[in-house]
């Protein structure tokens, strides 16, 4: 496989995953906003900006933080890299560059999602925004399904590798922001706002039902943290992403004979994750843990790029 192709496939995976994540985040935030007593709505949208690392970019627009402005900013604003439209643009550019490597179904999934945003200036109200995010999720699900029906070879694995690395990044940020930055001062832990915040996290990673199956004692922050960090059953957990990264790198190594620093890093990380207990993480400082995790994930990204000569 061409090194450039591998790089495009990997980035395609990352951007599709990012688009899907932003769609879920916007969706969950609208819900949180609707449920929360005022003025918690503003806090909900501030946290969405923090998760996507776009607080500064939004400030430049000069607009007031609130549902209309932030929802538009996160979906339709092409001037910054944290928006849905930019993620889909980038995903489609990468997909176009490797059009030959994708099946029609996979390409169509991306292209359909991208087409949703053409000639669209305003998301409209909450209902229209939800319809948009739902359509994006449908299209990315279609892409996901198509990926799993493609030949089980490097093409699929590079896309999935990008997805796994991006997913680990997204979940870690989500948890970090929600837990440490935005629990409003003075709100009792376990109070109404708090509870809604935790539900929002679960919704963003599609884990509301999974949580009920795995934990019997109702909504507990410690359990949510456990689920998102240490439970490999949950596809969007850090443990699952770490495990999947190792698996995909193994598949690539077997097929291509290429292995190196990235494999070593991914395996070390996975070995540590298996032994990780969320109680210990909380005791040792969740924020510090997640910061380290994000830095390590970035290093792994560069190791992958080097190992496969992304150039």
């Amino acid at each position: 496989m061409l090194a450039r192709t591998a790089s495009s496939l990997y980035w395609l995976g990352r951007y599709v995953e990012r688009a899907d994540f932003i769609a879920r985040l916007v969706e969950a935030t609208i819900r949180l906003d609707a449920l929360s007593p005022r003025p918690a709505g503003r806090v909900a949208w501030e946290s969405a900006l923090a998760v996507t690392d776009t607080v500064a970019a939004f400030a430049k627009t000069g607009e007031e933080v609130g549902q209309d402005a932030v929802a538009r900013f996160l979906t339709l604003d092409a001037t910054h890299s944290g928006s849905l439209v930019r993620s889909l643009d980038m995903a489609r550019n990468n997909a176009r560059a490797v059009r030959t490597a994708l099946t029609r179904e996979a390409w169509t999934g991306i292209n359909q999602a991208w087409l949703l945003f053409q000639n669209r200036a305003m998301p409209g109200g909450a209902a229209a925004t939800l319809a948009l995010t739902e359509a994006v999720k449908t299209a990315t699900r279609g892409f996901e399904g198509a990926i799993h029906r493609m030949l089980r070879n490097q093409t699929t694995w590079f896309i999935r590798l990008g997805q796994a690395v991006e997913r680990a990044d997204n979940t870690a940020r989500l948890l970090d922001v929600k837990y440490h930055i935005l629990l409003p001062a003075g709100e009792p832990v376990g109070g109404v706002v708090d509870r809604d915040q935790w539900t929002t996290i679960l919704q963003t990673v599609s884990a509301v039902t999974a949580y009920r199956w795995l934990y019997s004692e109702g909504l507990q922050p410690a359990n949510v943290i456990d689920l998102l960090i240490a439970r490999a059953e949950l596809p969007r957990s850090l443990a699952a992403s770490a495990e999947e990264t190792v698996e995909i790198l193994d598949l690539l190594a077997k097929r291509t004979g290429l292995h190196g620093e990235a494999d070593q890093m991914a395996r070390d990380r996975h070995a540590r994750m298996v032994k990780t207990h969320s109680k210990a993480v909380i005791a040792g400082g969740l924020h510090q843990y997640l910061e380290r995790f994000l830095a390590e994930n970035d290093e792994l990204h560069f190791a992958i790029a080097g190992q496969f000569r992304f150039g």
């Binding site: 192709t5 176009r96 059009r99 292209n111 087409l115 291509t256």
Partner: protein, 502 residues
């Protein structure tokens, strides 16, 4: 105004209200399919093209950087006998083009024999002295040719233009057929249509056949300028359907006159390159030193015989508009007999007598820039305004050598779906001819372009043209017998799922 009395590909002579007898089944199909139904199918085809991203870019049009080419649901049909005659003419012409290139970049016999004026070749910017003396592997230059044809009557086909560099449009031939098979399957019961879907296999076979000597399993690639190029869809489509890598210049590197591509595991040797990049941007060391594009050293590797380039660099001298008018002489010189496919009558404005005639008859002529393409730099006398004609008159007087002129032909028409139902629209046709080391073959189909505006003769996609499927019939025995149920049963493998029950 407009063009009078055009021959219609389906209905026959102008004004006829019933189809040509061999095509009666198409008339029945059209009569039996309401226009709304045709429109629905057409929209469905276009929606599919959009979803697949079968788009082209219009340069200078930033609002619509990606557009689909409109697709028309009514096919144009060639009878088997018409096609057989056309094919003979195409093979003869393409063989002559290859012989001409081999001669021009070699011994130049045709100049020494005085058949062509030497300055026409040697002073032509399309002539590439840089590659004179290089022999392409197997002596083949124009592996893929698209010969643009027009028709004015039942037996009157003319070559409008030769494309021996990097002709595009073959993906439309294939995708239009896919759309027709899906949307109008009944038509294929009425007509036995030659399949075009083997084109990628034939192309790959052609590429492999011209690999440098001694390479057992040649590595073939398609070289694209990248995904911002207007024809990128086609590049990726062809690489995909041949199962070979689609590379950009940056993916290739030349070391010691050998071409390599950068793979995830390191460098892999490349033997055959179907390049969809113009000569100018192929190798900055040879053609355009200012170009940031291209693969430095590629021409060196080609000269050393280590890689085949498809089509060969330098081919522009064979399809140049200034050379076009000499094609009948060129064909005769190399094949020894008269051209089976005639040219459109052409006045070379570089010749004073011809220029005088053209200036006197601008109202009736089509005037073209020798180095223009895509329908730009062109005057269509009968539909032009007075001001346009006077502007061209001034340009002609100032630089006569840059222009040729041709009569305004009554291009054939095909019924085409418009806002007011079906109406005749002018068409042209681009068949694709492949030349490998085992000979020349004509793919039974091609790209029919249609001018969607009433009376318009400009079929270019950048100027509002559309496309149609082009059927080539395998026999002229009119309609096939209705197919009986035959041996095929509905259950495949006999496996069904039982619903409910226990």
């Amino acid at each position: 105004m407009g063009i009078r009395q055009a021959f219609d590909e389906i209905m026959g002579q102008a004004g006829s209200t019933i189809p040509r007898s061999e095509l009666a089944a198409l008339g029945t199909w059209i009569a039996g399919t309401p226009p709304e139904d045709l429109r629905r199918r057409q929209q469905s085809a276009e929606a599919t093209f959009r979803q697949l991203g079968i788009t082209f870019a219009v340069y200078g049009d930033s609002d619509a950087s990606e557009r689909i080419i409109p697709f028309d649901i009514v096919p144009r049909i060639f009878l088997a006998s018409e096609w057989a005659r056309l094919s003979e003419g195409l093979v003869q012409r393409v063989e002559a083009i290859n012989a001409f290139l081999d001669d021009i970049y070699g011994p130049q016999r045709i100049l020494k024999d005085g058949v062509l004026p030497a300055d026409l070749i040697l002073g032509n910017p399309q002539f590439r002295p840089e590659i004179a003396g290089i022999r392409p592997p197997h002596g083949i230059w124009a592996h893929i040719c698209g010969i643009d044809l027009v028709r004015t009557g039942p037996d009157d086909f003319f070559v409008l233009e030769d494309n021996a560099r990097t002709p595009s449009g073959v993906s439309y031939m294939l995708e239009n057929r896919e759309a027709m098979l899906r949307l109008c399957p009944e038509l294929f019961h009425h007509f036995r249509v030659a399949a075009v879907d083997s084109y990628p296999d034939r192309l790959l076979e052609t590429m492999r056949s011209v690999a440098p000597e001694g390479v057992a399993a040649p590595v073939c690639v398609v070289l694209t300028p990248g995904h911002y190029n207007s024809a990128f869809y086609e590049h990726s489509f062809l690489a995909d359907s041949m199962g070979i890598e689609l590379v950009e210049a940056a993916d290739l590197v030349v070391e010691d006159d050998v071409v390599w591509m950068r793979m995830i595991g390191g460098l892999v040797k490349v033997d055959v390159i179907y390049r969809r990049i113009d000569d100018d941007f192929l190798d900055p060391r040879v053609f355009r030193p200012d170009s940031m594009l291209g693969v430095p050293g590629l021409i060196g590797a080609y000269a050393a015989g280590n890689v085949a380039l498809i089509n060969a660099p330098g081919n522009g001298i064979a399809d140049d508009k200034a050379i076009y008018s000499y094609m009948p002489e060129i064909v005769k010189y190399y094949s020894g007999s008269a051209a089976k496919l005639p040219n459109v009558e052409t006045w070379r404005c570089r010749e004073p007598q011809a220029l005088r005639y053209v200036l006197d008859n601008l109202d009736d002529l089509v005037v073209k820039l020798v180095d223009g393409s895509g329908g730009y730099g062109m005057l269509v006398g009968p539909t032009a305004t007075r001001a346009e004609i006077e502007a061209f008159r001034a340009a002609l007087i100032a630089e006569p050598h840059r222009y040729i002129a041709q009569p305004t032909l009554a291009l054939s028409t095909v019924p085409t779906l418009g806002d007011a139902g079906l109406a005749p629209r002018h068409v042209d046709f681009r068949p694709f001819v492949l030349t490998g080391s085992c000979g020349v073959q004509v793919v039974p189909g091609g790209l029919t372009r249609v001018a969607l505006k009433e009376g318009s003769l400009v079929v270019n996609s950048s100027q509002g043209g559309g496309t149609k499927d082009s059927f080539v019939l395998m026999d002229d025995g009119a309609m096939l017998q209705a197919q009986g149920p035959g041996g095929m049963t509905q259950s495949i493998g006999g496996m069904t799922q039982r619903m409910g029950g226990n």
